[in-house]
């Protein structure tokens, strides 16, 4: 984990902040590995918030300093990183790593030491540990909030059977198990299900098996590297004419480098997202413009739709909570966070008792007429058509998947 320390003090306000010690916020976040694409963009957004909050006089009049280490998308490194943040760097506040898999190992650690942990796009990572000082920034809550959209779209177009592929890791297993229960309850018959080890590179065997099973829908739960390999395998081998809907929980298809390299092979996939152009939130346009400029300099994800707005929101929430409680005491902050709703650039955020979103809203989008090697196209409205939830709906699904894909 490269020691990446960003000490940002803007010159003209330095005098005001110089004398008292800085407020240190610690985070381990993937800069490399399968989650690296998203992690780089998220970290950039957090740094933007640190610059903005320091321009406004910092927290409790003290300069904010962000300490970040690269966890390489590897769960084995995060316990070490967070112990170091707490015992060596002695940080005041903690933000969780991006993603369920790196976050899972530190949940027992923060629970035992009674620490506030701001969640960062994990999925149901708190359901066994039940830590009461955990606040997730993701737009989803439990499995229903994520999968009902996908399943209802499928049933509306007459799908009866479903196939599942899921990576054998914390995120994909949580989501897949939830989805299987909901599918059974809503009368869908599972014709094929397969877990694969996270390091799998070649998915042709699995795609061939799906072709043979002839399902109406395929629900995929995968991490970025697998998502890319699956889309490539589908592109090479095809899933057969019966499949009406393909996608659901494919992490990584929201990262700009991935969208750019996959290009037209994305067409027809119906997948989850967090924010796409056309969803109106106060202040998000202005943030995205400022972000695009900074991202170009840092050669990071130029669009910044998926993670950056929600990481910036973490900063906003912390800023409002610290201002309201006038203290950095984690128990006090947690109590305040439980009791209030916070306005952010991704709309109002409040949490249930388990620290997940109280009113989840997970958009399901379908890629339509995406061209190859063109990033700017994704800023237009029509490329990622929102099929669910109703309040953001901007079109109906093109079915079956092979037609929507326009593939061979």
């Amino acid at each position: 984990m490269r020691f990446v320390s960003f000490i940002l003090g803007l010159a003209f306000s330095a005098a005001a902040l110089a004398q008292s010690a800085p407020v240190k916020i610690g985070i381990g976040i993937a800069q490399t590995g399968t989650l690296g694409g998203g992690g780089k963009a998220a970290l950039l957004a957090l740094q933007m918030w640190v610059e903005d909050v320091n321009a406004r006089g910092g927290l409790l009049g003290r300069k904010v300093e962000l300490l970040a280490y690269d966890d390489q998308s590897n769960p084995a490194t995060t316990p070490g990183i967070y112990t170091k943040l707490l015992d060596v760097d002695k940080v005041d506040l903690l933000i969780a790593p991006y993603g369920t898999v790196p976050t899972a190992p530190i949940m027992p650690l923060v629970k035992q030491r009674g620490l506030l942990l701001m969640g960062n796009f994990s999925f149901q990572v708190n359901h066994t540990v039940k830590h009461d000082m955990w606040f997730n920034n993701a737009p989803w809550g439990d499995a229903t909030s994520w999968t009902e959209g996908f399943l209802r779209i499928g049933q509306n177009i007459g799908a009866q059977t479903i196939a599942f592929i899921a990576a054998d890791q914390e995120f994909a297993q949580n989501l897949a198990n939830g989805a299987k229960e909901i599918a059974k309850k809503s009368g869908l018959k599972t014709v094929y299900e397969q877990n694969y080890p996270p390091a799998t590179v070649d998915f042709s065997a699995m795609i061939r098996a799906i072709r043979a099973a002839k399902p109406d829908m395929v629900f995929v739960c995968s991490y970025p590297n697998d998502s890319v390999a699956i889309v490539r395998a589908v592109n090479e081998i095809g899933v057969g004419p019966t499949v009406k809907l393909f996608g659901g929980g494919m992490v990584g298809l929201q990262f700009t480098p991935v969208m750019e390299s996959l290009g037209s092979s994305l067409n027809g996939i119906v997948n989850y997202h967090s924010y796409v152009p056309g969803m109106k939130y106060p202040g998000i346009e202005d943030f995205l413009q400022r972000y695009a400029k900074k991202a170009a300099e840092a050669k990071v994800d130029p669009l910044g739709f998926y993670l950056p707005p929600f990481n910036y929101a973490i900063g906003q929430i912390l800023e409002q909570a610290v201002a309201a409680t006038k203290s950095l005491d984690q128990k006090l902050l947690a109590k305040h966070l439980h009791g209030h709703e916070f306005n952010t650039i991704v709309g109002p955020i409040s949490w249930g008792p388990d620290g997940e979103r109280a009113r989840p809203a997970v958009p399901m989008i379908q890629f339509r007429n995406v061209a190859d090697k063109n990033v700017e196209q994704f800023r237009q409205i029509g490329k990622q058509v929102i099929l669910h939830p109703p309040q953001f709906k901007s079109g109906d699904p093109v079915v079956p998947y092979e037609k929507a894909r326009g593939g061979n």
Partner: protein, 289 residues
């Protein structure tokens, strides 16, 4: 598992198996013939993949890049053998234990070196034959596997013929069987072994190029290939080149069937299972001396 899925698995297994043979043939020479405990062979192959990736960024086709890298890796091989000979074989003593540790250390240095330069991200290459598949009725066979199969077949056949037909090839086989006798006949076994090790490493560069054609590569990929390459070499029998092809096919097909039937989580154990069985029952392998 339905019949045509089994058939498809076998076809895919043959393509994969031939690729495994090409990946292991360098080790067949280094370990099979020269008795050099070359545990770093897979790491050098992954190094070849990354060099192919770098050349790919300048628009080189992976196969062309692989072939272009062969002379460079030949020199690398000669250098490594020279260093190994000076530090271990010359001193005799328990060179085996120290030699083994040396190559294990070398494998780790290469792996971590790649992580420092390229990070742990997956790297892949673009090419006309990657991403499209050959449609044979119901079957769809990815072109990248067909190309890897072709190059692998050429590589394995080429090296086998080189070793059995050419003069230096026979000298390499001779040094493997009876070094003192060769020394009496005026040939310098060290130079021959150095040449053989150079060729083995050169060939591995092309195998590395095929590795990144077949799928994305990351620095720690060499660990799984230690099992596969040694399984093929031991199953084939030490120093038997033709055996490498047969053993590669056996491994490829069995792995592909297990992949189809039991899923990917059991696949890595196939190579190591075969290796243990081969070591247990016939350490001298199917065709070994």
């Amino acid at each position: 598992m339905s019949f045509e899925l089994l058939l498809e698995a076998i076809v895919f297994g043959v393509l994969l198996g031939c690729f495994y043979a090409a990946v292991s043939i360098g080790l067949s020479v280094a370990f099979g013939l020269l008795d050099v405990p070359h545990v770093a062979h897979p790491a050098i192959m992954v190094l070849g993949s990354y060099c192919t990736y770098v050349l790919g960024r300048y628009g080189w086709d992976p196969i062309v890049a692989g072939i272009a890298l062969m002379p460079l890796f030949f020199l690398l091989g000669v250098a490594i053998y020279r260093f190994y000979y000076e530090s271990f074989e010359k001193r005799g003593s328990d060179a085996g234990v120290r030699g083994l540790a040396f190559f294990f250390g070398l494998a780790f240095i290469i792996e971590v070196g790649l992580i420092l330069v390229f990070g742990v991200d997956q790297r892949m290459v673009e090419a006309a034959y990657i991403g499209r598949s050959l449609a044979l009725g119901e079957f769809r066979i990815p072109w990248r596997m067909v190309v890897a199969f072709g190059v692998a077949l050429a590589l394995t056949a080429g090296l086998t013929i080189y070793l059995s037909r050419t003069f230096t090839g026979r000298a390499i086989k001779a040094v493997a069987q009876d070094e003192p006798a060769l020394r009496l006949m005026g040939a310098n076994p060290v130079r021959i072994k150095q040449w053989a090790f150079g060729i083995a490493t050169g060939v591995t560069a092309l195998a590395g190029a095929m590795l990144i054609v077949v799928g994305p590569v990351e620095p720690s990929l060499d660990r799984v290939y230690i099992g596969r390459t040694f399984a093929v070499v031991v199953l084939a029998g030490l120093g038997s080149m033709t055996g490498t092809l047969a053993a590669g096919l056996i491994l490829g097909i069995s792995e592909s069937i297990v992949l189809m039937q039991f899923g990917a989580s059991w696949a890595p154990a196939v190579a190591f299972g075969l290796l243990l069985v081969a070591l247990g029952i016939r350490p001298q392998g199917l065709f070994g001396r």
